[in-house]
């Protein structure tokens, strides 16, 4: 029996060395490869970016390699990799992350007339370090059997006592809620924002949920009457459920507008293939890419000249907040602090 253990030893060791050397040779051979490739570090999930990248490769012949992970580990990775990073483009799903990457000096500002024309000003970094590519709104959703549109007004109203025990929210740990609160701080200042969040917490019907989809399901099942979700989760669930008694409401139409956020990208400072990265970025902002990019996830295209998917159109038009989204990143730490102090888990 000891023989078997020994053989296993040899086998594992050989396998290990094989892998080690393959990685090693792989790394060396890459250095000599021609630059018809671009590497993307993406926190946007694979099934949402694969079709887009495949289209890019078809149109330009440039191969796209990508790696997905949460935004923070990706940023840490690029930071640690330093000047020999493999990443050409960083693609994330929240402006806060993009802001932080900029602040850490990981992104290279780039100005191009194409990009500036395609992407509106409040959806891109002022210095050109990143550009938003698709827009999602974080808005109020309600049970149409229990509430009417006239019952609702804005985010701040949700903190008033009349909604006690009727509100469902997602956890404060999700960056989307942090950006929303960041907007409230921007509009009202820290103290008032904290009071608003405290009011929300007191109105909660149950413990906060780990996902927007669960919030939607809870409202549909009658556990609560309304909540705050990203529009595309609403769209996804609507396509899945037969009985769907939920509706979207656009708050703050007479004040700051609906809170929006972007998924966007920026060119990495030490990108090995910066020209390809810029090509990809510009292509992503162009109409043909925008349609696909936004449609895959039922989002709004950042490029305003592009038509949105029919389902998305059916939700109606609204006034969006024009706060430059890099503010969401700047104020994120304060937002998390306020949420902790207000007891918003």
């Amino acid at each position: 029996m000891g023989q078997i253990l020994k053989h296993r030893c040899y086998l594992s060791w050989s396998f290990f060395f094989l892998l080690l050397f393959s990685g090693f040779f792989g790394a060396i051979s890459e250095a000599k490869e021609e630059a018809l490739v671009v590497s993307v570090y993406s926190s946007r999930k694979e099934h949402l970016i694969k079709p887009v990248f495949e289209k890019f490769t078809k149109e330009t012949g440039i191969k796209v390699e990508y790696m997905t992970d949460k935004a923070q580990p990706l940023i840490a990775k690029i930071e640690a990799e330093g000047s020999r990073t493999k990443a050409d483009l960083l693609l994330t799903v929240d402006a806060g992350n993009l802001w932080q990457a900029t602040k850490t000096g990981l992104l290279k500002p780039v100005k191009s007339p194409g990009l500036e024309q395609n992407i509106p000003e409040h959806l891109r970094d002022p210095s050109g370090a990143w550009y938003g590519l698709s827009v999602r709104a974080r808005t109020i959703v309600y049970h149409s059997g229990k509430l009417k549109e006239s019952d609702l007004s804005d985010y701040e109203d949700l903190s008033t006592p009349k909604w006690k025990g009727r509100l469902c929210l997602r956890t404060s740990k999700k960056v989307y809620n942090q950006s929303l609160v960041a907007m409230l701080i921007f509009q009202h200042g820290e103290k008032k924002a904290r009071d608003i969040v405290k009011g929300w917490v007191e109105n909660l019907a149950t413990k906060v949920f780990s996902s927007d989809t669960k919030v939607l399901e809870a409202i549909a099942a009658g556990q609560c009457d309304l909540g705050i979700v990203n529009t595309y989760y609403f769209g996804r669930l609507k396509q899945k459920m037969e009985k769907f008694p939920l509706r979207l409401f656009w708050p703050n139409q007479n004040s700051g507008g609906v809170h929006i956020n972007v998924s966007g990208a920026g060119i990495v400072k030490h990108a090995p293939h910066p020209k390809n990265a810029q090509k990809l970025l510009e292509w992503l902002s162009s109409p043909s890419a925008q349609v696909l990019f936004a449609e895959l996830n039922l989002e709004y295209p950042a490029n305003k000249s592009v038509a949105m998917a029919d389902e998305v159109k059916s939700w109606g038009s609204f006034k969006e907040s024009k706060m430059n989204l890099q503010k969401a990143g700047e104020l994120q730490a304060s937002a998390v602090k306020i949420m902790d102090q207000a007891g918003y888990r």
Partner: protein, 517 residues
């Protein structure tokens, strides 16, 4: 290496952030982490030990099958069980919706609560205790039972007053593994919105953008880890090793009538809840997924490749640790370097990933680039980084497995060997290795299953294109796409079941071998 990266984070201070964390986040996190640890360890102990007693000491219809089934929940990652249970037993889930719509019952119990979380985690972690307890009973059982019978003790007291106390070190060993898993868990506690130290670490990193503070909170976590390891130490010094070899199988007490039926029913109910329900839910979700096909997930190859290699390496490391322990005279105790190696098991995957990646990237910069003029990261981005991280994390299991087996090899053997002039090398290959073979297989399989289920470490350190099943599942569930996550999840369960079934078969063979001697 990892520890120094984490401890090194104290070099950067942020007193403002710490005062905020200190007043609002840390106290709750510590309290919650500790309560979770205590609750889950206790409940796993109860589950694992009682079922082990049932299947090891008693005979009833289907005992062998139940023994196998009781181990299978190990193939389900805790966070998968977590999201299945919350999905099923939530207010809006099928169970209570059925009660409301079909039976008009509006009462409901929140699954996302402390009891719910403790139950779910115990349900996926109890097999560690179960396996260890079985090993303990098997090795202590016969001689103790014989002595007891000679003294006229009844079967009941034999078990409870003799065998269990003797097997306590094994049971505690299993419990400690469970406790370590608890401390480092992030996925399951997130689904339950339960704030622990791991979520506090994440909050510092992701929410406050401060890796340094995240590292500092990690040191708080490490304090608890070291506490656990110290407890394990104390436990081992009180251990009494009676036998130096495994004992033959013994007569099981036969259960009849009501007792037999009762046992079977309880086991069926428990296993249905803990294993069959999740598997059924995964299967039904898979079929509901749009664009569903029966193709093998492409991530299966990566999962198996990394799993097998990783397990092999961890085993070797665990083996060397055990051997070095014994050869250098630490019979019954642990050398300090061994204890340090064990810490790896409790470090949450993400922290470990950063702790591994930064030094490796640094080594790359200092060493490889100038020498080989390579344009990219040799160590940092190759599979080496991932294997290093996994080794740090899981060698602890390899060590535990071997040390359990090693304990049965009395220190006398080493002395005898020395007397006869047998050198250490020969000692290892001719004496220790064959005797530890059983432990090797057990260890390999447990590590393999753990690596396949692992997610945060793999997520951060994998090279491009090496997505494992766990990563696929995580990506989809974090977007709420349960249906699409279900198919890879099922494959993960099957991939985990195969090695576990091999383990069970191997144990039976081992038992039979001894009975036939």
């Amino acid at each position: 290496m990892t520890l120094s990266t984490i401890v090194g984070s104290w070099a950067y201070r942020d007193p403002q952030l710490w005062s905020h964390l200190g007043s609002y986040v840390i106290p709750d996190a510590v309290f919650n982490s500790v309560s979770l640890l205590v609750g889950v360890s206790a409940l796993s102990l109860v589950f694992g030990t009682s079922f082990a007693i049932l299947t090891c000491f008693y005979q009833f219809p289907g005992r062998k099958i139940f023994h196998a089934l009781l181990i299978l929940p190990l193939s389900l990652p805790a966070y998968v069980t977590g999201f299945i249970f919350t999905g099923f037993f939530e207010f809006s889930g099928p169970f209570f919706t059925f009660l409301r719509e079909q039976l008009g019952i509006f009462a409901w119990v929140p699954i996302r609560s402390y009891p719910g979380l403790v139950f779910v985690m115990s349900a996926s972690l109890y097999p560690y205790v179960y396996l260890m307890a079985c090993q303990g009973f098997r090795s202590q059982g016969q001689q103790a039972m014989e002595c007891g019978r000679m003294l006229g003790m009844k079967p009941w007291s034999l078990i409870f007053r003799l065998v269990i106390p003797l097997s306590l070190p094994w049971m505690t060993g299993g419990s400690l593994i469970v406790a370590m898993e608890c401390l480092s868990d992030f996925g399951t506690v997130s689904v339950f919105s339960y704030d622990t130290l791991t979520t506090a670490i994440y909050k510092s990193w992701f929410g406050f953008f401060s890796k340094a503070v995240a590292g500092q909170v990690s040191t708080v976590l490490l304090v608890f880890v070291l506490l656990l390891i110290w407890l394990q130490d104390r436990n081992k010094t009180r251990q009494y090793t009676a036998t130096s070899h495994e004992v033959k199988g013994f007569q099981r007490i036969k259960l009849t009538g009501i007792k037999a039926l009762g046992s079977v029913v309880i086991l069926i109910l428990f296993l249905s809840l803990v294993f069959l329900l999740p598997v059924y839910q995964l299967a039904s979700w898979s079929l509901q997924a749009s664009r569903f096909n029966f193709l093998l997930p492409d991530s299966l190859g990566a999962t198996l490749g990394i799993g097998l290699t990783g397990a092999g390496i961890c085993l070797l490391v665990g083996f060397s640790l055990t051997i070095s322990n014994r050869l250098l005279g630490y019979v019954g105790r642990e050398a300090w370097w061994v204890r340090t190696a064990l810490v790896g098991y409790s470090i949450p995957g993400n922290i470990l990933a950063v702790g591994v990646f930064i030094p490796l990237a640094w080594i790359d910069q200092i060493f490889f680039w100038p020498v080989f003029e390579s344009d990219s990261l040799v160590l940092g981005s190759s599979i080496f980084a991932l294997l290093t991280g996994l080794t740090i994390r899981f060698s602890g299991i390899g060590y535990s497995s071997f040390s359990g087996g090693m304990k049965r090899i009395s220190g006398d053997l080493t002395d005898i060997g020395n007397v006869h002039g047998v050198g250490p090398g020969k000692m290892v290959s001719s004496v220790y290795a064959p005797m530890l073979n059983h432990a090797a297989v057990t260890g390999f399989i447990l590590i393999l299953v753990d690596i396949m289920k692992e997610m945060p470490l793999t997520l951060m350190l994998r090279p491009m294109g090496w997505d494992t099943l766990s990563i696929r599942i995580f990506e989809l569930t974090s977007e709420g796409e349960w249906e699409r996550a279900a198919w890879p999840a099922l494959w993960l369960v099957f991939a985990g079941m195969v090695p576990l079934l091999i383990l069970i078969y191997q144990e039976k063979k081992h038992e039979r071998d001894f009975e036939n001697r």
